[in-house]
């Protein structure tokens, strides 16, 4: 995790919550997600801040790895929750066997919210291969996904993917591209 903004001594960093992040948080709330399991990423911290500010009734659980987070989310569902899983696209690679042999095999729905690396705006070549593979990998597994291109689409995207997930008992994925989360001229996240 590299901070996007330099800290100034004595001045606490209080970034404004961007509209897309508030929209994702609103969508999670409106979709009935009260449990969010996550492995951190810079863009995701805006969603967590929005949840804390606007929807403190949502419980967040920090996991050490995305595969572990997938297991925790599955257990939450078995106990009656509607879990969301927040991770960077690199971490999606860490979840794949769990998505296949746990979520899909048992028909356990989890709403995945994936902050993208390796797409337009990327500066780190190590992020590109997995980033490029995100959609083909989700397609190969049969996980429905859509990408949020504008902040005002975020809430609806989350609510509709949650409906698809929890209504039909399948994992779904909402992709947050870098052009949304880290617009040109923004920091290196």
């Amino acid at each position: 995790m590299n901070p996007t903004e330099p800290r100034v001594a004595g001045v606490p960093r209080v970034p404004a919550i961007p509209p897309w992040a508030a929209g994702v948080a609103d969508g999670l709330w409106d979709a009935g997600c009260r449990d969010v399991v996550y492995v951190p990423d810079n863009p995701l911290s805006h969603i967590l801040a929005a949840l804390e500010r606007d929807h403190p009734g949502v419980r967040t659980v920090l996991a050490t790895r995305e595969e572990e987070a997938t297991g925790i989310a599955a257990g939450l569902y078995l106990g009656g929750a509607r879990p969301a899983l927040l991770m960077q696209s690199s971490g999606l690679g860490n979840t794949l066997n769990a998505v296949g042999s746990l979520l899909l095999a048992f028909q356990i729905p989890v709403l995945m919210v994936v902050s993208m690396r390796g797409d337009a705006g990327e500066w780190n070549s190590a992020q590109v291969p997995m980033g490029r593979a995100v959609r083909p990998v989700l397609d190969a597994l049969g996980v429905s996904h859509l990408s949020v291109d504008r902040g005002d689409e975020a809430r609806d995207a989350i609510v509709s993917l949650a409906q698809l997930a929890f209504g039909t008992r399948l994992p779904t994925a909402c992709l947050l591209p870098r052009r949304l989360t880290s617009p040109a001229g923004g920091g290196r996240s």
């Binding site: 997938t70 257990g75 569902y77 078995l78 106990g79 066997n97 048992f106 929890f166």
Partner: protein, 192 residues
């Protein structure tokens, strides 16, 4: 103590606790001892038994949750011990059936057959209630303690490999549906 004996002894102490059980031999032997809807048999996702149990414990603070994991599986997901310690569900018991080998894939040795110590791992990650047991009496005592005082508990049971003869149902969706129904969650998820 064989793994079957450890599983059977643990199983006999249960009342209405949901059990998440690791894939392969552990699941086969839990089934062999006595099937029940509250057994969640995994068929894949090696390493995630303790994580599924943690998620269930977070969702259901009203139910004591038991996980039957293996040494090879937990070694794939040691971070889970840190998350369990951080979340600190007092009603979670993780039993690690430590036979020092990958029993289901042909008996290849795991690092616990040399110096790796999973109880020490749990303690190092912040789990305070832990035990390592080497026979039935010790396991019985540890299980009693895990009932009497707040967890999360990690009990490492040193066991010998045994030879399962039967397998649980292969229908994953059936396993899930009856598990959730037995927990009172119906076949869908709670809407707030």
């Amino acid at each position: 103590m064989t793994r079957f004996e450890a599983i059977d002894l643990t199983r006999r102490t249960l009342t209405d606790e949901p059990v998440i059980v690791n894939l392969g031999h552990a699941a086969y032997e839990l089934f062999a001892g006595g099937d029940r809807p509250l057994n969640f048999y995994t068929w894949g996702s090696m390493g995630l038994t303790s994580s599924i149990a943690l998620g269930l414990a977070l969702a259901r603070p009203d139910r004591r949750v038991v996980a039957l994991d293996g040494d090879g599986s937990l070694l794939m997901n040691l971070g889970s011990l840190a998350t369990i310690a951080a979340c600190a569900p007092t009603h979670l018991l993780l039993v690690v059936l430590d036979n020092g080998q990958y029993g289901t894939t042909g008996g290849q040795p795991t690092p616990t057959s040399s110096d790796a110590d999973l109880e020490a791992c749990a303690r190092a990650m912040g789990v305070r209630q832990t035990a390592t047991v080497r026979n039935a009496e010790q396991l019985e005592r540890a299980l009693e303690e895990s009932r009497a005082s707040a967890g999360p508990w990690v009990v490492v049971a040193k066991v010998d490999e045994s030879a399962p003869t039967v397998k649980p149902p292969l229908d994953c969706v059936y396993i899930k549906q009856r598990f959730m129904a037995a927990l009172g969650e119906g076949s869908g998820s709670r809407t707030p």
